[in-house]
Symmetry: C2
Amino acid sequence: MAEPQQDIDEEAFGITDRLVGDVRDAVERGDADAVDGLLDPLHPADIAHLLEQIDGRQRRDLIAIWNAGMDGDILSELAENLREEVIEQLAPAELADAVRDLESDDVVDLVEYLDEDQQEAVLEALDAGDRVVVEQALSYPEESAGRHMQSELVRAPSHWTVGEAIDFLRSDVVLPEQFYHIILVDPRLKAVGYVTLGRILSHPRATPLMDLAEDSFRTFHVAQDVEEVAQAINHYHMITAPVVDDDERIVGVITIDDAMVFLEEEAEEDILRLAGVGEGSLSDRVLDTTRQRFPWLAVNLVTAILASLVIALFEETIAGLVALAVLMPIVASMGGNAGTQSLTVAVRAIATRDLTGANVWRVIRREALVGLINGVIFAIVMGIVGVIWFGSPMLGVVIGVAMVINLVVAGLAGTIVPVVLERMGVDPALASGAFVTTVTDIVGFFAFLGLAALWLL
Amino acid sequence: MAEPQQDIDEEAFGITDRLVGDVRDAVERGDADAVDGLLDPLHPADIAHLLEQIDGRQRRDLIAIWNAGMDGDILSELAENLREEVIEQLAPAELADAVRDLESDDVVDLVEYLDEDQQEAVLEALDAGDRVVVEQALSYPEESAGRHMQSELVRAPSHWTVGEAIDFLRSDVVLPEQFYHIILVDPRLKAVGYVTLGRILSHPRATPLMDLAEDSFRTFHVAQDVEEVAQAINHYHMITAPVVDDDERIVGVITIDDAMVFLEEEAEEDILRLAGVGEGSLSDRVLDTTRQRFPWLAVNLVTAILASLVIALFEETIAGLVALAVLMPIVASMGGNAGTQSLTVAVRAIATRDLTGANVWRVIRREALVGLINGVIFAIVMGIVGVIWFGSPMLGVVIGVAMVINLVVAGLAGTIVPVVLERMGVDPALASGAFVTTVTDIVGFFAFLGLAALWLL
């Protein structure tokens, strides 16, 4: 970086559109040297990102002419839905070269969703020792800490001193690529504490490691959900989370950089589920995307038809006063929006443990009250609009009262639905939206048209 | 942990509803010893979480009778909207005690949004040296790396050896509480590389530090957006991101645990903005929440009225065939949902840099195609429903064609709107939803009622 002051306007990371264009052109020309020259200086994460941005045909052409070839770090960084495609294209020897230097957890991430043939091919490329470790990890349940932990770690007997630890690290022992703690174990390999490398480096050789151990030491069981472990790492500002087996023996660690990825995925999943998109990503094929989005649209069709059935109950009322057909979507739409607001706050608060049994009633009361206050304000606004537009004070009253009812119901449904779904073991991010908008549509149409039938005709 | 196998069913972190209840009871009884006994074993993050779960009156009572008293780590962990309230209740001496041991970046986070009197009170509690550092950080723009960096770091001349570094760390120099790298600087304090502590510990004393430096070394400018730095840390799996001034001198670091918090906040913000909730949190007061949600509901009211105006154009058509009023919300609702799907994927893809100038046209085509395919499927379904329900084949055709049109438009608008907003410098998460549903509502009603007017009457 010759002129760092320019960085202010530059992106902090990633690749430019221009670079993507240059690589594309080089691939079209079949210019292998140009491709090498462009890709060589890039970080594996950036190369993976570039592969995701070009289309399938260009990706195949690029990999075919690329001399340096795919390496394991790039494969690890690649979006899951592209890995199979790319691995298919690699010769067994290339694949073996690529995966050999990866840490055990990266190999597991790489192979866990591959089809059996490909998984077998990758496993065969590993040394016998690494292979056992990876197969052991794959034997733990999906999404468990055991499945995703890194088995490479540094442990030391708890009676060692700083000097003994340094001599051990300087010996020809194989160390993980990155490590930030030494985990202390008793003679039965039970984890009893950990020491940061900073404290080891800053104390005399004679200091016992136990004297330097961190105050708070938590371990996580191999069967624990890995997302929970990631949340715990974030909550307690840990760098390394030790994972133990049934006998409390240390068997691996979840590191903070992996935890960060799990949390990102979790937040992403919540966002996409709230919008009814499932596991969508831009690099999916059109038909895959169509299929992912279909179920939520189908659910929405059913709920929309339910709402229509409510409208159909009042066909005569509408025939008597067509203005009702003009105004009725407003009540439903405001309820839908208010419900989505309450439900989004509730879904996130459940995910971050801010909404619990200890405060659920207070939150429900609060949301109903917020709905009531906003409902009254918008009732007045819409009442006035109704009077001005259609010259009927009673129509103004009807739409106003329906608005208040629907916004209070929206606040209640937006909180109660996700809480109930969560207690039933259903992911509230996935299913709440459909339920809540069904409630607000039905209540909105029913209240507005019902009151109109009672008071206007 | 006597029986870690029980952990599988237990939460990986956090506090139980029962504990919250016990603390509440102890506070109600005014039993200071019981409060101390319950809170003493807890991690500061858990105490902060507990304070967020109880209501304002209980919080005040708790703090008043709590002997151990508030410490800085708890204040740092506390939700922003509660900090002012809690700090107000602390005597100046208590506050001084609480903040004295915090790292500079934690003090900055704590005070940056306090009102001036409270900020002054905290700053006065600091030692002169720390105060200068905090004031310097506060002089950088909000959301910049300079504002949020930790100034405590370990640097060493690039010509040092492992032995010199160890002797330096063992001397009586003041070290950061946590550090994982030593940053190498040239004689003009320009950052030239960094070394992990693990590599220092595992090499003989005579090894030059430069030989152990990491291959890839990136620095970030103090004015760089801190969220971008956090994304870069995640993207490149960094543990420490060095922050430099205009002369490339190292002035601080952003650490991965802080980056994790920034990324969480960013994802949270996107989720809440997509739902039109702004900065909402469960511990806000009812009136604050009402005010936060009001603007989006007001925008929605305007868009709903626009849609109603479209319906009003067709009052005569509806008067001629009331079935239209029954079916029209279905077309609008399906379009709104499909639009939300496309827009959510686009907003997240923009945030994660997966949607760029290099692939925007491909993505737009793709979304339109997905809309077309799903549109045709649902057109057939709804056509059949229309025929069965109302016995009119032509009505089935009208709703089917309107559905196809609206779902294609939803795919286009859902992608184009966020891309255009982003280019205009507006956060697409904040504003896209209103635009897209306005488009799908208007197009939905217009296509359905317009075709009905043309073909049915």
